[in-house]
Symmetry: C2
């Protein structure tokens, strides 16, 4: 649920979107894209939540990994459908994670 | 819903958390903290979603603004209660937004 990322620095791609009323095909595509992301070089993890606003944060080792994922052919089709069909508004922010902290991110570990 | 942030660079604080079963006082505190964040110097906006995992991303002009907010007395009480009572797991990542794009983030603007 909470991504188990390595020590910084690494990158976060923050994807925030509002959906249209047309969700046909969206669920399948979203699932397929997450599965595909996991196979990409440099992929470190993903976090997602939605209630009205949908937020998906994917974590990547470096800028090259992000560029490679953005250029993936199947992902490009998903991006096109997102722009044209599924999303009424969308923002993507690419950010370099400089520091991180927390507790119990690994569910097997005791609460600090 | 989607934060209307200025051109990069700026900072994102990505807060990801799983809740305990004890939500007493949580809703009021969360609302109060958002209202208080809006009053802080350097605050640029906030995005939130929850379904199981809760994700709150606040955007800030610079590191000094983030440090100031973290040290805020009322916010420190909220942080303490979060650690001790409301959250079973939590991760905070501080990241520098290097580039951003999207469409229709301003609901008054036409879809690009």
């Amino acid at each position: 649920m909470i991504a188990k990322t390595p020590a910084p620095p690494y990158y976060a791609v923050i994807f925030s979107a509002l959906q249209t009323d047309d969700v046909e095909g969206y669920g399948e595509m979203a699932q397929a894209m997450v599965a595909l992301a996991f196979q990409q070089p440099g992929f470190l993890g993903v976090e997602h939540a939605r209630d009205g606003l949908g937020i998906t944060i994917s974590y990547w080792a470096d800028e090259a990994s992000i560029a490679n994922w953005k250029a993936n052919t199947d992902h490009q089709l998903a991006q096109k459908l997102g722009r044209e069909k599924w999303y009424s508004a969308m923002a993507i922010r690419v950010a370099k994670v400089e520091r991180a902290y927390g507790f119990a991110v690994d569910p097997a570990a005791p609460k600090a």
